[in-house]
Amino acid sequence: MSASLVMGEVLSRKKQGEDYYSLTVVAPAVAESVAPGQFVNVRPVGRTAHILRRPFSVYRVHKQGGWASTFEIIFDIRGPGTEELAALDVHDKLDVMGPLGNGFRLPKKHSRCLLVGGGIGAAPLFFLAARLREAGHRIDVVLGARTSELLLNAMDARRLASICRITTEDGSAGDTGVVTDVLGPTIERCGSEVVYTCGPHAMLEAVAGVCGAAKLPVQVAVEELMACGFGVCMSCVIPLRVRRKKGGSGSGGVLYARSCTEGPVFDGSQVIWSDHIAAPDTIDLASELVPPPAAPPRAQHVPAGAGAEHSPPGN
Protein backbone atom coordinates (compact mmCIF):
# COMPACT_ATOMS: atom_id res chain seq x y z
CA MET A 1 0.00 0.00 0.00
CA SER A 2 1.30 3.41 -0.80
CA ALA A 3 -0.92 6.29 0.20
CA SER A 4 -0.72 9.79 -1.18
CA LEU A 5 -1.10 13.11 0.51
CA VAL A 6 -2.77 15.37 -2.01
CA MET A 7 -4.85 18.48 -2.27
CA GLY A 8 -8.10 17.41 -3.85
CA GLU A 9 -10.81 19.63 -5.21
CA VAL A 10 -14.50 19.24 -4.67
CA LEU A 11 -16.15 18.52 -8.01
CA SER A 12 -19.64 18.19 -6.65
CA ARG A 13 -21.55 18.03 -3.44
CA LYS A 14 -24.92 16.39 -3.26
CA LYS A 15 -27.52 15.88 -0.63
CA GLN A 16 -28.83 12.34 -0.76
CA GLY A 17 -32.21 11.94 0.83
CA GLU A 18 -32.79 13.70 4.11
CA ASP A 19 -29.63 12.76 5.91
CA TYR A 20 -26.75 11.90 3.64
CA TYR A 21 -24.29 14.09 1.83
CA SER A 22 -21.88 13.00 -0.83
CA LEU A 23 -18.75 14.69 -2.05
CA THR A 24 -17.04 13.91 -5.31
CA VAL A 25 -13.41 14.87 -5.14
CA VAL A 26 -10.87 15.29 -7.91
CA ALA A 27 -7.76 13.46 -6.76
CA PRO A 28 -6.44 11.12 -9.45
CA ALA A 29 -3.58 9.72 -7.37
CA VAL A 30 -6.10 8.48 -4.86
CA ALA A 31 -8.98 7.60 -7.15
CA GLU A 32 -6.84 5.52 -9.47
CA SER A 33 -5.21 3.40 -6.80
CA VAL A 34 -7.95 2.93 -4.23
CA ALA A 35 -9.53 -0.50 -3.79
CA PRO A 36 -12.93 -1.30 -2.25
CA GLY A 37 -12.82 -1.22 1.55
CA GLN A 38 -9.95 1.21 1.64
CA PHE A 39 -10.59 4.65 3.00
CA VAL A 40 -9.45 8.23 2.75
CA ASN A 41 -8.63 10.52 5.65
CA VAL A 42 -9.67 14.06 4.84
CA ARG A 43 -9.64 17.56 6.17
CA PRO A 44 -10.97 20.81 4.77
CA VAL A 45 -8.40 23.56 4.52
CA GLY A 46 -8.68 26.15 7.27
CA ARG A 47 -8.28 26.77 10.94
CA THR A 48 -10.84 24.86 12.85
CA ALA A 49 -11.07 23.92 16.50
CA HIS A 50 -11.17 20.25 15.53
CA ILE A 51 -7.75 19.43 14.27
CA LEU A 52 -7.80 15.83 13.14
CA ARG A 53 -8.67 14.40 9.75
CA ARG A 54 -11.85 12.39 9.32
CA PRO A 55 -11.86 8.91 7.78
CA PHE A 56 -14.38 7.87 5.13
CA SER A 57 -14.74 4.78 3.05
CA VAL A 58 -14.60 5.34 -0.65
CA TYR A 59 -18.15 4.97 -1.92
CA ARG A 60 -17.49 5.14 -5.63
CA VAL A 61 -14.76 6.09 -8.08
CA HIS A 62 -15.27 7.69 -11.44
CA LYS A 63 -12.83 7.49 -14.30
CA GLN A 64 -13.95 9.09 -17.49
CA GLY A 65 -11.84 9.34 -20.59
CA GLY A 66 -10.13 12.69 -20.67
CA TRP A 67 -11.26 13.79 -17.21
CA ALA A 68 -9.27 13.63 -14.02
CA SER A 69 -10.36 10.69 -11.88
CA THR A 70 -12.51 11.34 -8.86
CA PHE A 71 -13.58 9.44 -5.79
CA GLU A 72 -16.81 9.88 -3.93
CA ILE A 73 -17.55 9.64 -0.25
CA ILE A 74 -20.95 9.60 1.39
CA PHE A 75 -21.65 10.48 4.99
CA ASP A 76 -24.13 11.63 7.55
CA ILE A 77 -23.61 14.56 9.85
CA ARG A 78 -22.40 13.45 13.23
CA GLY A 79 -20.33 16.30 14.56
CA PRO A 80 -18.15 19.24 13.58
CA GLY A 81 -16.07 17.35 11.02
CA THR A 82 -18.94 16.07 8.95
CA GLU A 83 -20.77 19.36 9.39
CA GLU A 84 -17.90 21.18 7.81
CA LEU A 85 -17.57 18.68 4.99
CA ALA A 86 -21.26 19.05 4.26
CA ALA A 87 -20.74 22.80 3.95
CA LEU A 88 -18.02 22.56 1.32
CA ASP A 89 -18.67 24.09 -2.06
CA VAL A 90 -17.67 23.07 -5.53
CA HIS A 91 -14.01 24.03 -6.14
CA ASP A 92 -13.19 24.06 -2.43
CA LYS A 93 -9.98 22.30 -1.58
CA LEU A 94 -9.93 19.11 0.40
CA ASP A 95 -6.74 17.78 1.96
CA VAL A 96 -6.78 14.05 1.24
CA MET A 97 -4.63 11.24 2.56
CA GLY A 98 -5.24 7.91 0.93
CA PRO A 99 -5.93 5.29 -0.06
CA LEU A 100 -5.48 3.85 3.42
CA GLY A 101 -6.07 0.45 4.95
CA ASN A 102 -6.15 -2.99 3.44
CA GLY A 103 -9.42 -3.24 1.54
CA PHE A 104 -11.62 -6.24 0.87
CA ARG A 105 -10.13 -9.34 -0.70
CA LEU A 106 -11.90 -10.30 -3.92
CA PRO A 107 -12.53 -13.94 -4.84
CA LYS A 108 -10.15 -15.35 -7.46
CA LYS A 109 -12.72 -17.66 -9.00
CA HIS A 110 -16.30 -16.85 -9.83
CA SER A 111 -18.20 -16.67 -6.56
CA ARG A 112 -21.57 -15.89 -5.16
CA CYS A 113 -20.94 -12.89 -2.96
CA LEU A 114 -23.34 -11.58 -0.35
CA LEU A 115 -22.96 -7.95 0.68
CA VAL A 116 -24.54 -6.98 3.99
CA GLY A 117 -24.72 -3.32 4.84
CA GLY A 118 -26.26 -1.26 7.63
CA GLY A 119 -27.05 2.44 7.41
CA ILE A 120 -24.29 4.67 6.14
CA GLY A 121 -21.91 1.79 6.87
CA ALA A 122 -22.96 0.24 3.58
CA ALA A 123 -20.92 2.87 1.71
CA PRO A 124 -17.85 0.78 0.81
CA LEU A 125 -20.04 -2.09 -0.35
CA PHE A 126 -21.18 -0.11 -3.39
CA PHE A 127 -17.61 0.32 -4.55
CA LEU A 128 -17.02 -3.34 -3.80
CA ALA A 129 -20.12 -4.37 -5.72
CA ALA A 130 -18.95 -2.41 -8.74
CA ARG A 131 -15.62 -4.19 -8.72
CA LEU A 132 -17.13 -7.60 -8.06
CA ARG A 133 -19.44 -7.08 -10.97
CA GLU A 134 -16.62 -6.02 -13.27
CA ALA A 135 -14.92 -9.28 -12.31
CA GLY A 136 -18.07 -11.19 -13.14
CA HIS A 137 -19.09 -12.38 -9.69
CA ARG A 138 -22.65 -12.83 -8.60
CA ILE A 139 -23.79 -10.24 -6.10
CA ASP A 140 -26.60 -10.43 -3.60
CA VAL A 141 -27.36 -7.70 -1.14
CA VAL A 142 -28.96 -7.29 2.24
CA LEU A 143 -29.37 -3.63 3.07
CA GLY A 144 -30.73 -2.43 6.39
CA ALA A 145 -31.33 0.76 8.27
CA ARG A 146 -33.40 2.17 11.09
CA THR A 147 -35.85 3.72 8.71
CA SER A 148 -36.26 4.00 4.95
CA GLU A 149 -34.73 7.49 4.92
CA LEU A 150 -31.48 6.01 6.16
CA LEU A 151 -31.26 3.24 3.60
CA LEU A 152 -28.21 3.94 1.52
CA ASN A 153 -28.95 3.99 -2.19
CA ALA A 154 -31.43 1.11 -2.29
CA MET A 155 -31.97 1.79 -5.97
CA ASP A 156 -28.38 1.07 -6.87
CA ALA A 157 -28.39 -1.94 -4.60
CA ARG A 158 -31.36 -3.39 -6.43
CA ARG A 159 -29.71 -2.73 -9.75
CA LEU A 160 -26.43 -4.36 -8.78
CA ALA A 161 -27.81 -7.36 -6.96
CA SER A 162 -29.29 -10.56 -8.21
CA ILE A 163 -31.30 -10.72 -5.02
CA CYS A 164 -31.71 -7.66 -2.83
CA ARG A 165 -33.33 -7.80 0.59
CA ILE A 166 -34.18 -4.61 2.42
CA THR A 167 -34.89 -4.32 6.13
CA THR A 168 -35.90 -1.35 8.24
CA GLU A 169 -36.46 -1.37 11.96
CA ASP A 170 -39.66 0.62 11.61
CA GLY A 171 -40.92 -1.26 8.60
CA SER A 172 -40.95 1.85 6.44
CA ALA A 173 -39.32 -0.13 3.64
CA GLY A 174 -38.77 -3.83 3.01
CA ASP A 175 -39.05 -6.20 5.94
CA THR A 176 -39.50 -4.94 9.45
CA GLY A 177 -36.46 -5.85 11.47
CA VAL A 178 -32.71 -5.95 11.19
CA VAL A 179 -30.45 -7.47 8.56
CA THR A 180 -29.62 -10.53 10.60
CA ASP A 181 -33.31 -11.47 10.70
CA VAL A 182 -33.16 -12.21 7.00
CA LEU A 183 -29.50 -13.14 6.71
CA GLY A 184 -29.72 -16.91 7.23
CA PRO A 185 -32.52 -17.47 4.70
CA THR A 186 -30.84 -15.15 2.19
CA ILE A 187 -27.53 -17.02 2.45
CA GLU A 188 -29.40 -20.24 1.78
CA ARG A 189 -31.46 -18.91 -1.03
CA CYS A 190 -28.48 -17.31 -2.77
CA GLY A 191 -26.05 -20.09 -2.05
CA SER A 192 -23.62 -17.45 -0.87
CA GLU A 193 -19.96 -18.42 -0.77
CA VAL A 194 -18.51 -15.33 0.91
CA VAL A 195 -20.00 -12.49 2.92
CA TYR A 196 -18.78 -8.91 2.95
CA THR A 197 -20.20 -6.61 5.57
CA CYS A 198 -19.89 -3.11 6.92
CA GLY A 199 -22.04 -1.22 9.39
CA PRO A 200 -22.49 -0.65 13.09
CA HIS A 201 -20.38 -2.72 15.43
CA ALA A 202 -23.33 -4.68 16.80
CA MET A 203 -24.47 -5.56 13.30
CA LEU A 204 -21.01 -6.76 12.32
CA GLU A 205 -20.89 -8.96 15.39
CA ALA A 206 -24.28 -10.45 14.57
CA VAL A 207 -23.39 -11.02 10.92
CA ALA A 208 -20.11 -12.63 11.90
CA GLY A 209 -22.06 -14.86 14.26
CA VAL A 210 -24.46 -16.04 11.57
CA CYS A 211 -21.61 -16.63 9.13
CA GLY A 212 -19.58 -18.45 11.76
CA ALA A 213 -22.49 -20.80 12.39
CA ALA A 214 -22.85 -21.29 8.65
CA LYS A 215 -19.09 -21.76 8.28
CA LEU A 216 -19.03 -19.05 5.70
CA PRO A 217 -16.01 -16.75 5.32
CA VAL A 218 -16.94 -13.23 6.29
CA GLN A 219 -14.99 -10.05 5.77
CA VAL A 220 -15.98 -7.25 8.10
CA ALA A 221 -15.02 -3.61 7.65
CA VAL A 222 -14.86 -1.93 11.05
CA GLU A 223 -14.96 1.77 11.95
CA GLU A 224 -12.80 2.61 14.92
CA LEU A 225 -11.88 6.07 16.18
CA MET A 226 -8.74 7.11 14.38
CA ALA A 227 -6.29 9.86 15.19
CA CYS A 228 -3.81 9.28 12.37
CA GLY A 229 -5.24 6.72 9.95
CA PHE A 230 -1.81 5.56 8.77
CA GLY A 231 -0.56 3.41 11.60
CA VAL A 232 1.44 5.49 14.03
CA CYS A 233 -0.87 6.43 16.89
CA MET A 234 -2.27 3.05 17.98
CA SER A 235 -5.68 4.49 18.73
CA CYS A 236 -7.74 2.46 16.27
CA VAL A 237 -6.93 -1.02 17.47
CA ILE A 238 -9.27 -3.97 17.62
CA PRO A 239 -8.60 -7.24 19.43
CA LEU A 240 -8.03 -10.21 17.14
CA ARG A 241 -7.41 -13.86 17.76
CA VAL A 242 -4.29 -14.55 15.74
CA ARG A 243 -2.44 -17.65 14.69
CA ARG A 244 1.25 -18.14 14.70
CA LYS A 245 2.87 -16.92 11.55
CA LYS A 246 4.64 -19.51 9.43
CA GLY A 247 8.21 -19.48 10.59
CA GLY A 248 7.38 -16.80 13.16
CA SER A 249 8.40 -17.00 16.75
CA GLY A 250 5.14 -16.15 18.50
CA SER A 251 2.71 -18.75 19.71
CA GLY A 252 -0.40 -16.99 18.55
CA GLY A 253 -2.90 -15.39 20.88
CA VAL A 254 -4.69 -12.10 21.02
CA LEU A 255 -3.42 -9.04 19.26
CA TYR A 256 -4.56 -5.46 19.22
CA ALA A 257 -4.38 -4.86 15.49
CA ARG A 258 -4.59 -1.40 13.98
CA SER A 259 -7.79 -1.10 12.02
CA CYS A 260 -6.25 1.66 9.88
CA THR A 261 -3.37 -0.49 8.70
CA GLU A 262 -4.07 -4.17 9.29
CA GLY A 263 -7.74 -3.30 8.70
CA PRO A 264 -10.30 -1.86 8.36
CA VAL A 265 -11.25 -5.19 6.76
CA PHE A 266 -10.79 -8.16 9.05
CA ASP A 267 -11.73 -11.77 9.02
CA GLY A 268 -14.96 -11.70 11.00
CA SER A 269 -14.04 -14.96 12.71
CA GLN A 270 -10.86 -13.43 14.14
CA VAL A 271 -12.41 -10.39 15.74
CA ILE A 272 -13.03 -10.57 19.47
CA TRP A 273 -16.34 -8.78 19.56
CA SER A 274 -17.51 -9.04 23.11
CA ASP A 275 -14.17 -8.03 24.56
CA HIS A 276 -14.23 -4.88 22.57
CA ILE A 277 -14.30 -2.49 25.47
CA ALA A 278 -12.14 -4.43 27.92
CA ALA A 279 -8.52 -5.38 27.41
CA PRO A 280 -7.99 -8.99 26.37
CA ASP A 281 -6.66 -11.06 29.23
CA THR A 282 -3.75 -12.53 27.39
CA ILE A 283 -1.99 -11.01 24.52
CA ASP A 284 0.97 -12.19 22.56
CA LEU A 285 2.35 -9.24 20.79
CA ALA A 286 5.23 -11.13 19.32
CA SER A 287 2.85 -13.10 17.15
CA GLU A 288 2.21 -11.83 13.68
CA LEU A 289 -1.10 -11.11 12.12
CA VAL A 290 -1.53 -13.31 9.09
CA PRO A 291 -3.96 -12.32 6.35
CA PRO A 292 -7.43 -13.51 7.34
CA PRO A 293 -8.51 -16.82 5.79
CA ALA A 294 -11.11 -14.98 3.86
CA ALA A 295 -11.08 -17.20 0.80
CA PRO A 296 -14.38 -19.01 0.45
CA PRO A 297 -13.82 -22.74 0.60
CA ARG A 298 -14.69 -23.01 -3.05
CA ALA A 299 -12.80 -20.04 -4.36
CA GLN A 300 -9.42 -18.39 -3.90
CA HIS A 301 -9.04 -14.71 -3.28
CA VAL A 302 -6.89 -11.94 -4.59
CA PRO A 303 -6.42 -8.59 -2.95
CA ALA A 304 -9.05 -6.18 -4.14
CA GLY A 305 -6.65 -3.63 -5.51
CA ALA A 306 -3.10 -3.40 -6.70
CA GLY A 307 -0.82 -3.14 -3.74
CA ALA A 308 -3.56 -3.84 -1.22
CA GLU A 309 -1.31 -6.22 0.68
CA HIS A 310 -1.78 -7.03 4.31
CA SER A 311 1.14 -5.59 6.13
CA PRO A 312 2.07 -7.07 9.47
CA PRO A 313 1.64 -4.86 12.52
CA GLY A 314 4.67 -2.77 13.15
CA ASN A 315 5.11 -2.07 9.50
Binding site: A49, I51, L52, V232, V237, I277, L285
Partner: protein, 310 residues
Protein backbone atom coordinates in the same frame (compact mmCIF):
# COMPACT_ATOMS: atom_id res chain seq x y z
CA UNK B 1 23.02 37.11 3.11
CA UNK B 2 23.96 33.51 3.68
CA UNK B 3 21.23 31.03 4.43
CA UNK B 4 20.78 30.44 8.14
CA UNK B 5 22.08 27.16 9.47
CA UNK B 6 19.53 24.85 11.04
CA UNK B 7 22.13 22.56 12.57
CA UNK B 8 22.12 22.29 16.33
CA UNK B 9 24.14 20.57 18.96
CA UNK B 10 21.70 18.87 21.28
CA UNK B 11 23.61 17.67 24.34
CA UNK B 12 26.33 16.47 22.02
CA UNK B 13 24.04 15.09 19.31
CA UNK B 14 24.61 16.89 16.05
CA UNK B 15 21.18 17.43 14.47
CA UNK B 16 20.84 18.61 10.90
CA UNK B 17 17.83 20.59 11.99
CA UNK B 18 16.16 21.11 15.35
CA UNK B 19 12.81 19.56 14.49
CA UNK B 20 12.21 16.00 15.69
CA UNK B 21 9.19 13.73 15.55
CA UNK B 22 7.80 13.21 19.06
CA UNK B 23 7.53 9.84 20.73
CA UNK B 24 4.38 7.88 20.06
CA UNK B 25 3.38 9.96 17.07
CA UNK B 26 5.69 8.55 14.44
CA UNK B 27 6.00 4.86 15.30
CA UNK B 28 9.50 3.79 14.43
CA UNK B 29 9.36 5.65 11.15
CA UNK B 30 8.14 2.99 8.77
CA UNK B 31 4.55 4.09 8.27
CA UNK B 32 5.53 7.71 7.78
CA UNK B 33 8.36 6.86 5.43
CA UNK B 34 5.81 6.58 2.65
CA UNK B 35 5.23 10.30 3.02
CA UNK B 36 8.59 11.68 4.05
CA UNK B 37 12.29 10.86 3.83
CA UNK B 38 13.05 10.22 7.47
CA UNK B 39 16.76 10.85 6.96
CA UNK B 40 15.89 14.51 6.45
CA UNK B 41 14.19 14.88 9.81
CA UNK B 42 16.12 16.50 12.62
CA UNK B 43 15.51 13.22 14.36
CA UNK B 44 12.94 10.67 15.29
CA UNK B 45 12.02 9.85 18.85
CA UNK B 46 10.61 6.35 18.79
CA UNK B 47 7.38 5.19 20.37
CA UNK B 48 8.27 4.36 23.97
CA UNK B 49 9.50 0.80 24.25
CA UNK B 50 9.31 -1.46 27.26
CA UNK B 51 11.18 -4.55 28.41
CA UNK B 52 8.38 -6.92 27.43
CA UNK B 53 5.66 -6.15 24.87
CA UNK B 54 2.85 -4.09 26.35
CA UNK B 55 -0.63 -4.71 25.11
CA UNK B 56 -1.89 -1.21 25.80
CA UNK B 57 -5.28 -0.10 27.05
CA UNK B 58 -8.72 -1.07 25.80
CA UNK B 59 -10.49 1.09 23.24
CA UNK B 60 -11.66 3.79 22.78
CA UNK B 61 -8.17 5.15 23.15
CA UNK B 62 -8.55 8.64 21.80
CA UNK B 63 -11.00 11.48 21.45
CA UNK B 64 -10.76 14.91 20.04
CA UNK B 65 -11.07 18.04 22.18
CA UNK B 66 -11.03 21.74 21.25
CA UNK B 67 -7.73 22.29 19.40
CA UNK B 68 -6.40 19.10 20.89
CA UNK B 69 -6.91 15.44 21.57
CA UNK B 70 -6.85 13.06 24.48
CA UNK B 71 -5.16 9.70 24.27
CA UNK B 72 -4.89 6.72 26.55
CA UNK B 73 -2.96 4.24 24.43
CA UNK B 74 -1.16 2.60 27.30
CA UNK B 75 2.14 2.46 25.42
CA UNK B 76 1.19 -0.50 23.25
CA UNK B 77 4.51 -1.62 21.86
CA UNK B 78 6.26 -4.83 20.90
CA UNK B 79 9.12 -4.53 23.35
CA UNK B 80 12.75 -3.57 23.13
CA UNK B 81 13.82 -6.87 21.59
CA UNK B 82 11.54 -6.33 18.61
CA UNK B 83 12.83 -2.78 18.28
CA UNK B 84 16.42 -3.96 18.21
CA UNK B 85 15.86 -6.80 15.79
CA UNK B 86 13.32 -5.24 13.44
CA UNK B 87 13.17 -1.47 13.68
CA UNK B 88 16.68 -0.38 14.51
CA UNK B 89 18.43 -1.99 11.53
CA UNK B 90 15.81 -0.47 9.24
CA UNK B 91 16.27 2.96 10.81
CA UNK B 92 20.03 2.69 10.50
CA UNK B 93 19.70 1.75 6.84
CA UNK B 94 17.47 4.74 6.30
CA UNK B 95 20.07 6.97 7.98
CA UNK B 96 17.63 8.30 10.54
CA UNK B 97 18.82 10.11 13.64
CA UNK B 98 17.16 8.04 16.32
CA UNK B 99 16.39 8.85 19.91
CA UNK B 100 15.03 5.76 21.62
CA UNK B 101 12.21 6.43 24.05
CA UNK B 102 11.99 3.97 26.91
CA UNK B 103 9.33 3.30 29.50
CA UNK B 104 8.57 0.96 32.35
CA UNK B 105 6.56 0.39 35.47
CA UNK B 106 9.55 -0.13 37.76
CA UNK B 107 13.05 1.27 37.93
CA UNK B 108 14.36 -2.17 36.99
CA UNK B 109 12.24 -2.28 33.86
CA UNK B 110 13.65 1.06 32.71
CA UNK B 111 17.19 -0.10 33.47
CA UNK B 112 16.51 -3.37 31.66
CA UNK B 113 15.46 -1.62 28.47
CA UNK B 114 18.51 0.62 28.69
CA UNK B 115 20.80 -2.37 29.15
CA UNK B 116 19.34 -4.05 26.06
CA UNK B 117 19.87 -0.93 24.03
CA UNK B 118 23.44 -0.67 25.31
CA UNK B 119 24.04 -4.28 24.36
CA UNK B 120 22.66 -3.65 20.88
CA UNK B 121 25.76 -1.59 20.33
CA UNK B 122 25.01 1.58 18.45
CA UNK B 123 22.45 2.91 16.05
CA UNK B 124 20.81 5.27 18.48
CA UNK B 125 21.92 8.84 19.03
CA UNK B 126 20.22 9.34 22.36
CA UNK B 127 17.68 8.01 24.77
CA UNK B 128 14.55 9.69 26.07
CA UNK B 129 13.22 8.44 29.36
CA UNK B 130 9.44 8.59 29.46
CA UNK B 131 8.81 8.85 33.17
CA UNK B 132 5.15 9.71 32.71
CA UNK B 133 4.37 6.10 33.50
CA UNK B 134 2.58 4.71 36.53
CA UNK B 135 5.12 3.58 39.12
CA UNK B 136 3.92 0.19 40.35
CA UNK B 137 6.19 0.49 43.36
CA UNK B 138 4.57 3.73 44.48
CA UNK B 139 0.81 3.29 44.33
CA UNK B 140 0.78 3.93 40.59
CA UNK B 141 1.92 7.52 41.04
CA UNK B 142 3.76 8.68 37.96
CA UNK B 143 7.53 8.62 38.25
CA UNK B 144 7.52 12.12 36.82
CA UNK B 145 5.47 13.36 39.77
CA UNK B 146 8.18 12.65 42.31
CA UNK B 147 11.68 14.06 42.49
CA UNK B 148 12.99 10.90 44.14
CA UNK B 149 11.45 8.51 41.61
CA UNK B 150 12.62 10.69 38.74
CA UNK B 151 16.15 10.70 40.08
CA UNK B 152 16.19 6.95 40.55
CA UNK B 153 15.02 6.16 37.05
CA UNK B 154 17.40 8.64 35.48
CA UNK B 155 20.46 7.46 37.38
CA UNK B 156 19.77 3.78 36.72
CA UNK B 157 19.18 4.34 33.02
CA UNK B 158 22.30 6.45 32.82
CA UNK B 159 24.30 3.73 34.53
CA UNK B 160 23.00 1.08 32.14
CA UNK B 161 23.40 3.19 29.03
CA UNK B 162 26.15 5.74 29.59
CA UNK B 163 27.20 6.01 25.95
CA UNK B 164 24.47 8.33 24.63
CA UNK B 165 22.91 11.52 25.91
CA UNK B 166 19.92 10.97 28.16
CA UNK B 167 16.82 13.16 28.05
CA UNK B 168 14.35 12.98 30.90
CA UNK B 169 10.84 13.59 29.59
CA UNK B 170 8.95 15.56 32.18
CA UNK B 171 5.27 15.80 32.91
CA UNK B 172 3.59 19.20 33.21
CA UNK B 173 1.20 17.84 35.82
CA UNK B 174 3.28 18.93 38.78
CA UNK B 175 3.42 21.89 41.11
CA UNK B 176 6.98 22.71 40.16
CA UNK B 177 8.41 21.33 36.95
CA UNK B 178 11.61 23.18 37.84
CA UNK B 179 12.10 20.99 40.91
CA UNK B 180 11.62 17.77 38.95
CA UNK B 181 14.00 19.11 36.30
CA UNK B 182 16.59 19.80 38.97
CA UNK B 183 16.25 16.26 40.29
CA UNK B 184 16.66 14.79 36.81
CA UNK B 185 19.71 16.89 36.03
CA UNK B 186 21.31 16.11 39.36
CA UNK B 187 20.75 12.40 38.68
CA UNK B 188 22.61 12.59 35.40
CA UNK B 189 20.18 13.70 32.70
CA UNK B 190 22.07 15.38 29.86
CA UNK B 191 18.96 17.13 28.67
CA UNK B 192 15.23 17.42 29.24
CA UNK B 193 12.20 16.80 27.08
CA UNK B 194 9.14 18.76 27.93
CA UNK B 195 6.29 18.58 28.03
CA UNK B 196 4.57 15.24 27.93
CA UNK B 197 0.79 15.36 27.68
CA UNK B 198 -1.42 17.15 30.20
CA UNK B 199 -3.80 14.99 32.19
CA UNK B 200 -7.35 15.35 30.98
CA UNK B 201 -10.67 13.62 30.67
CA UNK B 202 -13.77 13.84 28.54
CA UNK B 203 -17.21 12.36 29.03
CA UNK B 204 -19.71 11.43 26.34
CA UNK B 205 -22.86 13.08 27.67
CA UNK B 206 -25.08 10.71 25.72
CA UNK B 207 -23.67 7.47 27.04
CA UNK B 208 -22.44 9.07 30.30
CA UNK B 209 -19.24 7.17 29.83
CA UNK B 210 -15.71 8.50 29.70
CA UNK B 211 -14.71 8.99 26.07
CA UNK B 212 -11.57 7.01 26.83
CA UNK B 213 -11.74 3.44 28.11
CA UNK B 214 -8.79 4.43 30.30
CA UNK B 215 -10.98 7.21 31.80
CA UNK B 216 -8.12 9.70 32.12
CA UNK B 217 -5.78 10.43 29.24
CA UNK B 218 -3.16 12.80 27.99
CA UNK B 219 -4.05 16.07 26.30
CA UNK B 220 -1.90 17.07 23.33
CA UNK B 221 -2.07 19.39 20.36
CA UNK B 222 -2.24 23.18 19.88
CA UNK B 223 -4.44 23.58 22.96
CA UNK B 224 -1.48 22.83 25.26
CA UNK B 225 1.15 24.93 23.51
CA UNK B 226 0.94 27.81 26.01
CA UNK B 227 1.40 25.31 28.83
CA UNK B 228 4.46 23.85 27.14
CA UNK B 229 6.00 27.23 26.33
CA UNK B 230 5.67 28.27 29.94
CA UNK B 231 7.20 25.03 31.23
CA UNK B 232 10.13 25.29 28.84
CA UNK B 233 10.64 28.94 29.74
CA UNK B 234 10.58 28.20 33.45
CA UNK B 235 12.96 25.27 33.26
CA UNK B 236 15.33 27.04 30.88
CA UNK B 237 15.61 30.02 33.21
CA UNK B 238 16.29 27.75 36.16
CA UNK B 239 18.76 25.55 34.25
CA UNK B 240 20.11 27.63 31.37
CA UNK B 241 22.86 25.16 30.57
CA UNK B 242 20.60 22.16 30.14
CA UNK B 243 19.42 21.50 26.56
CA UNK B 244 15.69 21.07 26.17
CA UNK B 245 13.62 19.30 23.53
CA UNK B 246 10.52 21.49 23.57
CA UNK B 247 7.26 19.88 22.61
CA UNK B 248 3.54 20.40 23.02
CA UNK B 249 1.28 21.71 20.30
CA UNK B 250 3.87 22.58 17.70
CA UNK B 251 2.56 22.52 14.16
CA UNK B 252 4.16 25.48 12.42
CA UNK B 253 7.54 27.12 12.11
CA UNK B 254 6.31 30.02 14.23
CA UNK B 255 5.29 27.56 16.93
CA UNK B 256 8.76 26.02 16.82
CA UNK B 257 10.43 29.41 17.01
CA UNK B 258 8.24 30.35 19.95
CA UNK B 259 9.43 27.23 21.77
CA UNK B 260 13.05 27.95 20.89
CA UNK B 261 12.77 31.54 22.11
CA UNK B 262 11.34 30.16 25.34
CA UNK B 263 14.46 28.05 25.79
CA UNK B 264 14.30 24.89 23.70
CA UNK B 265 17.41 23.81 21.77
CA UNK B 266 15.35 21.44 19.65
CA UNK B 267 11.63 20.84 19.30
CA UNK B 268 9.48 17.80 18.68
CA UNK B 269 6.30 17.71 16.64
CA UNK B 270 3.72 15.27 17.96
CA UNK B 271 0.00 15.41 17.25
CA UNK B 272 0.59 17.44 14.10
CA UNK B 273 2.13 14.32 12.51
CA UNK B 274 -1.29 12.69 12.58
CA UNK B 275 -2.68 15.43 10.40
CA UNK B 276 0.36 15.72 8.21
CA UNK B 277 3.25 13.28 8.50
CA UNK B 278 5.44 15.84 6.75
CA UNK B 279 4.89 18.36 9.53
CA UNK B 280 8.32 18.11 11.11
CA UNK B 281 10.05 18.61 7.79
CA UNK B 282 7.77 21.48 6.84
CA UNK B 283 8.32 23.10 10.22
CA UNK B 284 12.07 22.88 9.70
CA UNK B 285 11.77 24.41 6.24
CA UNK B 286 9.61 27.22 7.54
CA UNK B 287 11.97 27.80 10.43
CA UNK B 288 14.80 28.39 8.03
CA UNK B 289 12.77 31.07 6.25
CA UNK B 290 11.69 32.62 9.51
CA UNK B 291 15.28 32.75 10.71
CA UNK B 292 16.33 34.42 7.49
CA UNK B 293 13.65 37.06 7.90
CA UNK B 294 14.84 37.60 11.46
CA UNK B 295 18.45 37.83 10.37
CA UNK B 296 19.40 34.92 12.63
CA UNK B 297 22.33 32.85 11.40
CA UNK B 298 22.07 29.98 13.86
CA UNK B 299 19.43 28.37 15.99
CA UNK B 300 21.70 28.63 19.02
CA UNK B 301 21.44 32.40 19.09
CA UNK B 302 17.66 32.14 19.39
CA UNK B 303 17.54 29.63 22.22
CA UNK B 304 15.94 31.33 25.22
CA UNK B 305 16.16 34.67 23.43
CA UNK B 306 12.74 35.87 24.52
CA UNK B 307 13.03 39.48 25.61
CA UNK B 308 11.48 39.85 29.01
CA UNK B 309 10.13 43.22 29.93
CA UNK B 310 11.14 44.85 33.19
Amino acid sequence: MTRPSLAVDLAGIRLKNPVLAASGTFGAGREASGFVDIARLGGLITKSMTLEPWKGKPTPRMCETPSGMLNAIGIQNRGVAHFISEDLPWLVRRKATVIASIAGNTVDEFAGVAARLAAAGGGIAGVEVNISCPNLEDRDNMFAHSEAATARVVSEVKRALPAVPLFAKLSPNVTSVGDIAAAAVAAGADGLSLINTVLGMAIDVNTRRPKLAGTVGGLSGPAIRPIAVRAVHEVHRAHPGVPIIGQGGISSAADALEMILAGATAVAVGTANFINPRSALEVAGGLSELMASHGAATVAELVGAVELVG
